[in-house]
């Protein structure tokens, strides 16, 4: 498995890793754009982010330690034109934990699509932000996720 991973990394490098990162960076800038309204509401957006690429109907779970007493927004962005992505947050029992969520396209012509989910944890513990590519014209869809708290 380790060997496979190394080979995969090398293959990516040969295939033009910089192009992959450029695409993820675009998704990341859209994730930050998605989070912008919440910054204005006093949320502090973490400087690190999570992301990658997924096929249609694929899912990725980002595991997070959340604290009761904080109020969180998870904000997702993609730069894949025509893609629809979602993020929803579940507690460690697999129960939907968010109090609101959104999905919307970015500015016309930008190719961006945004999604977000707000969690006000009723308990301190482990939560799962599940990213899903609902539909996409592309085989692989770039995504990036950031979260903020207040």
């Amino acid at each position: 498995m380790k060997t496979l991973k190394i080979l995969f990394v090398l293959a990516l490098a040969v295939a033009g890793l910089s192009a992959v990162w450029a695409a993820v960076d675009d998704a990341l800038s859209f994730a930050h754009e998605s989070a912008l309204p919440f910054v204005k509401q006093g949320y502090i957006i973490r400087e690190d982010a999570w992301g990658g690429d997924l096929g249609v109907k694929d899912q990725q779970a980002v595991t997070a330690q959340l604290f009761k007493g904080n109020d969180y927004w998870f904000c997702l962005g993609t730069d894949t034109k025509g893609a629809v992505v979602t993020v929803h947050v579940y507690d460690s029992n697999g129960k939907l934990a968010e109090v609101e969520s959104y999905q919307r396209p970015g500015k016309a012509g930008s190719g961006a699509y945004f999604a977000g989910a707000r969690v006000i944890p009723q308990k301190t513990g482990t939560y799962y932000a599940i990213v899903t590519v609902e539909k996409s014209p592309a085989e692989r869809t770039n995504w990036a996720l950031v979260y903020g708290y207040k």
């Binding site: 604290f67 007493g69 579940y90 799962y128």
Partner: protein, 265 residues
């Protein structure tokens, strides 16, 4: 930032998900393949202190340590010490002690220099000092969070992922000592619930077990941290965390901070 993106990029493997735009009320997390679940995200200290702000008005000055500790030159000790010093910065912010925050800003630079990541934190350190002078506490917190992340990122770039983990652990240990001290002095189940971090503790344990450098993994100080995590795990098992467990965790983490800061193994 990019190194954190790599695992997710590699792990984005096919999983025939059932989620639609209207999300299901429940999901079976056990059916998620391991590759589709990222390792737990380590919270930044601000997330914890943000909650502590809402738990009344503890005597933050009483929580401050007299000494920031001694740098022994041992890289594992310096990495752990750097984490504790950054966490101390948050305590000093809560105590609104600008002089102490400025000392911490300088010390972060000295310790970062000792593990070859000085360049990564020069701007942060300067900013911490400037913002402490201006008593802009929210901004100081943000810079301290940023300093921790910058140090980690610089270490990862240098291929020192193991040491980067120790910086996070040092911060977590000192942060947990402070948290348990405050909660045990004015115990409430809600306050104690902040310690409900079993996945995070398990994650830290795994990271130590999987350290690439067997020499580092076997170092006495690292072995003590591993034991600390093992001892804490049953104390924060699911359910309400009683005051006796909070006190035990406070003793365990306090002793560990003493070992780290004194440089005695």
């Amino acid at each position: 930032m990019l190194p954190r993106l790599i695992p997710a990029a590699l792990c984005g493997l096919a999983f025939a998900g059932a989620a639609a735009q209207t999300p299901p009320q429940t999901v079976d997390l056990s059916k998620f393949p391991a590759t589709a679940v990222d390792e737990v995200v380590v919270p930044v200290p601000s997330e914890v202190f943000n909650v502590l702000d809402k738990l009344g008005s503890p005597n933050w000055k009483g929580e401050m340590r007299d000494s920031l500790g001694t740098n022994t030159g041992n890289r594992a000790q310096v990495a752990l010490l750097l984490g504790t010093v950054i966490a101390e910065g948050f305590v000093a912010v809560e105590a609104e002690d600008s002089q102490r925050v400025k000392e911490i800003g300088q010390e972060v630079l000295v310790l970062a220099d000792a593990i070859n990541v000085r360049k990564a934190v020069i701007a942060r350190s300067k900013s911490v000092i400037e913002k402490a002078d201006a008593k802009n506490w929210r901004a100081v917190r943000s810079e301290l969070d940023g300093a921790l992340q910058d140090v980690r990122a610089a270490m990862q770039e240098l291929g020192d992922e193991d040491l980067a983990q120790l910086v996070s652990l040092g911060g977590w240990i000192r942060g947990t000592e402070v948290l348990t001290s405050i909660v045990s002095k004015n115990y409430t189940p809600d306050g104690a619930e902040l310690l409900n971090q079993p996945e995070l503790v398990a994650y830290f344990s795994r990271r130590i077990e999987e350290m690439r450098s067997s020499r580092l993994r076997k170092e006495e100080l690292v072995a003590k941290v591993r034991k600390l995590l093992r001892d804490i795990r049953p104390l924060i098992a699911k359910g309400s965390i009683p005051v006796s467990n909070v006190q035990k965790i406070n003793k365990l983490t306090g002793d560990m901070v003493t070992v780290i800061t004194s440089g005695q193994e």
